[in-house]
C-alpha cells in the first residue's frame, strides 16, 4: 500500500492550478459559481482555452487527441477544475460520444466528428430515455427502418439535456426485435437540423431550461451514422459506464461547496447572523467536510483499482453518495443564507445590477436555490439511486 499522492501527482496538480489561474476567465468562473445553467456560448472561451492547451479530451486515447493521463491525474484535474469554478464543457460530446467513436466508430465517423468535437464546434445531446424507457432502458422503442443507404427513425425521446442547443443527438434506437430487448439496440448519430426532428422544451423545478422532448418523425440519416456494429448499442453503453466510473461522484463540485462556505458564513455573521446559529452551521459544515473526505477516498480507491471485485459496487456507492452529499451541501448554503433565498431569481439578477436584489439578498444568493433543486436530478439521471442500490446488492450479495 502507498497511501499518498506521489511527488509527480502533486506537481501535476500544481500545474493544473496554475493553468486555471491563467486561463479561466474570472467573469466566467463567477458566473459558474452562481449555479445557473450556463449556455454553450458562455462556456466557449473555456473550451477554447482547454483545446489550445491540449487538455480538452482527457478521457480519449492519446492518438485521438487525449492527454494520456492516468486515472489519478484525471481525478486531480477534475477536482482542481471544480474548486476553481471552471464550468463543464460539452460533457456528452467529450465524455461520451468521443470515447464511443474512438472505440467503436468507423474511420469515416472519427474523421467527421472527433476533431470538431475537440474544437468545440459540435455539441451533442444524448437521446436514450423515452416516456416508456426510463430506468428500464432496454425497453427503448424508437423504431428504425433501413432504406437504401439511409436509416429512417421514428420515436419520442424525453429528458434530453441540451437538445435545444446541440448539433447532433446520439440516439439509442431499436434496430431489432429478435432476442432479448437489450440485444436489439444501436447508437445512431442524428443531426438536430434534419427534417422531422422537433424539440420541445421542458420546464424544470430549478427554473432553468436544460431538458427537452425530442420527436423524431421519419428522420432519415445516412447508414454510416450508425456507430459500430448494428445491435451493439447496449455493449457500447456498458463500455462507457465502465470507463466513467467516478465522474458522478462530483468530488470537484463538493470541494467547491466546502471551500466557499466559511467565507459565506463570515459575510453572514458580518450582516447580523446570530452567532449561535452560525455555530450550528459551522458544526454541520465540519461534519459534511468529514463525509466528503471519506467520499473522496472512496473515489481514490476506485481509481487505484483497489479490489476489482468490488469496483462496480464501489462505483454505484460513490454515485449515490455524490448526489446525497451535493444535496446536503447545497441545502447547508440555503440554511446559511436564510430568507435571502426566498425570491425567485434569474441569471440577469446579479449584484452588479443597479437595482438592489429583493428580500435584502446579497451577492451570494442568486442561483443557490436553482442549483440546490437541480441536484435532485443527480440522484435520478445516470441510473437512479434505487437502481444503483440494486446494482450494489447484485454485485456483492446476490446468490
Amino acid at each position: 500500500m502507498e497511501l499518498d499522492f506521489t511527488a509527480q501527482e502533486q506537481a501535476f496538480e500544481e500545474e493544473v492550478q496554475r493553468f486555471l489561474a491563467d486561463a479561466l476567465p474570472p467573469s466566467l468562473a463567477a458566473k459558474e459559481a452562481q449555479g445557473f445553467h450556463l449556455h454553450r456560448r458562455d462556456v466557449a472561451p473555456w473550451h477554447q482555452a482547454l483545446w489550445r492547451k491540449g487538455w480538452i479530451a482527457p478521457g480519449w486515447p492519446q492518438h485521438f487527441g487525449g492527454t494520456g493521463w492516468l486515472p489519478m491525474e484525471r481525478f486531480l484535474f477534475e477536482r482542481a477544475c471544480g474548486v476553481a469554478n471552471a464550468p463543464e464543457v460539452s460533457l456528452i460530446a467529450l465524455s461520451m460520444v468521443g470515447p464511443v467513436l474512438c472505440e467503436f466508430g468507423s474511420d469515416a465517423l472519427r474523421e467527421r466528428f472527433l476533431e470538431p468535437i475537440r474544437r468545440g464546434d459540435l455539441w451533442f445531446c444524448q437521446g436514450f430515455s423515452e416516456p416508456e424507457a426510463g430506468s428500464d432502458l432496454a425497453a427503448v422503442r424508437c423504431r428504425t427502418r433501413f432504406e437504401g443507404d439511409s436509416i429512417v427513425l421514428n420515436g419520442h425521446k424525453i429528458w434530453t439535456t441540451d437538445a435545444h442547443i446541440a448539433d447532433y443527438m446520439i440516439c439509442l434506437a431499436r434496430t431489432s426485435d429478435v432476442g432479448r430487448p437489450r440485444e436489439g439496440l444501436s447508437m445512431i448519430l442524428i443531426p438536430m437540423d434534419a427534417p422531422g426532428v422537433r424539440v420541445r422544451p421542458i420546464a424544470t423545478l430549478d427554473g432553468d431550461h436544460h431538458i427537452n422532448e425530442v420527436f423524431l418523425e421519419d428522420v432519415a440519416v445516412p447508414l454510416e451514422n450508425l456507430v459500430g456494429e448494428v445491435n451493439s448499442g447496449w455493449a457500447q453503453a456498458r463500455y462507457l459506464l465502465g470507463r466513467e466510473r467516478t465522474h458522478n461522484a462530483y468530488v470537484g463540485m463538493l470541494r467547491r461547496y466546502l471551500a466557499r462556505f466559511p467565507g459565506l458564513l463570515q459575510r453572514q455573521l458580518a450582516a447580523g447572523l446570530d452567532a449561535r446559529v452560525a455555530d450550528g452551521l459551522l458544526r454541520d459544515h465540519v461534519q459534511l467536510s468529514l463525509d466528503v473526505e471519506a467520499h473522496e477516498w472512496s473515489v481514490l480507491r476506485l481509481l487505484a483499482d483497489e479490489e476489482s471485485s468490488q469496483l462496480r459496487a464501489g462505483a454505484s456507492a460513490v454515485k449515490i453518495r455524490g448526489s446525497e452529499l451535493l444535496m446536503k451541501a447545497s441545502e447547508l448554503e440555503l440554511m446559511a443564507l436564510g430568507s435571502q433565498v426566498i425570491p425567485a431569481m434569474t441569471p440577469a439578477m446579479t449584484h452588479t445590477t443597479a437595482q438592489p436584489l429583493p428580500a435584502g439578498a446579497g451577492a451570494d444568493a442568486p442561483g443557490r436555490v436553482t442549483q440546490s433543486l437541480y441536484w435532485r436530478a443527480a440522484a435520478i439521471f445516470g441510473g437512479t439511486n434505487e437502481i444503483q442500490r440494486g446494482i450494489i446488492y447484485s454485485t456483492l450479495f446476490h446468490r
Binding site: 500500500m1 497511501l3 499522492f5 458544526r283 472512496s298 483499482d305 442500490r389 450494489i392 450479495f397 446476490h398
Partner: protein, 365 residues
Amino acid sequence: MDFRISDEQRLLRDTARKVLAEATGTSGDDAWMPFRELGWTALPIDEAHDGLGGSLVDLAFLLEELGRARCQVPYLECCVLPAMLLKALASRGVAHAELLGSLARGEQRLGVAVEERSSAESVGAFSTRLAATPSGFRLIGEKLLVVGGAACDGLLVVAVADHETCLVYVPPDAAGVRIRGYSAVDGRELADIEFVDVPVSESAVLARGTAVDEALVEAQAIALTLQCADIVGAMEASMEMTAEYLQQRQQFGQKLASFQALQHGMAVLFIACNEARSMLFRALSALGQADISLRRRAASGCKVKVAACARQVTGMAVQYHGALGMTTEYAVGHYLRRSIVAEQLFGNAHYHLAMCLADHAAVAK
C-alpha cells in the same frame, strides 16, 4: 497511490482471521498466546528492540481482524498503545529500550492509565500527581477505564509533578495500588485504579514535560485510528453475517433476500462500510505527515465518521435479524455491543467532532 494489499499483509490477515476464529472463547494468558507466538506483539515495535517493525497499515489489518473476531484481548491498549507511547518518547530522546523489548517479546503487558474522573482537556492538567519525598516520590490519584488494567504486568501512569506532565511506571502489585476490575458491556475487561501514596523511585519516572505531552498526542492519534480499524472489521463482519442470514431465512414462502427493501438496505450498509474504510485509509495516510496537529485532526475525523457508520451498520444488522438479533446467543448483536463500547472509549463522535470544530475555528481565526 496504491491500495493493493501486499502478500505479507494478506498472509497476516488470513492467519489472524483463522487463528482468532479458533481462539474464540479463550481468555487470559491463553488468549494472548497467539499474539506472542505469531509475532503480533513484536509488530508495532522496531527491529532494534526485538520487534518486527510493522507499519501502521499492517497493524490496521490485524486490528480489523480483532474486530471481526470480537476478540477481547486488549492488544491495542496493552501492547500497541504503550509501544507507540514509548516510541514517541524515544524519538524525543527519552529511550526505554528494555520496556520496548519486553513488550515486543510479549513478556510484559502494559496498561496505560490516562483517563480521570473529570477528564481534564488542557494539556498537563491531570489531577493524579507525583509528590516529592526524601527518598523519591509518592503517586496520588485515581485513573479510570484502564483497558486490561486488572491483568497487566505494569502500568504506565500519566501524572503531574511540578506543573509538568510525567509518565510513571508502576508495578500493579506495588503498595497502595488499588485495582477495581470490571467488564464492559461487550465483555472486554477494564479497571479503575486508585493510587494511595504509592512509592515511586526516580528511575520509575520514565519521562517529563513536553516530551510526554507530545508523545501522548502522537500515540493517542495512532491508537484512535487503529481502534477505528477494529470497528471497521466488526462492521464488515456484521454486514456479511446479515447478507448470509437474508439468504437463509424464509418468510412469505421466499427467502428474505428476495425482498427489494432488504436488498437496498444491504446496499446502504455496504456504502457505510465502504466509507468507513475509506476514512480509515485517509487517517492512516495522514498519520505519516510531519505536522502533529494534522495527524490528530485526521484521527478525530476518522472516529467521527467510522463511529457513525458503525452505529448505522451494527444497528441495522440487528434489525434485519428480527428477534434473533436481540439474543445474546447469536453473534450479530455482539457487534452492536462492541461498537457501542468502542465508540465511547477514546472519545465518542461528538467529542471528536468538537475537536475538529475547535481546530477549524482556530484555522479560521
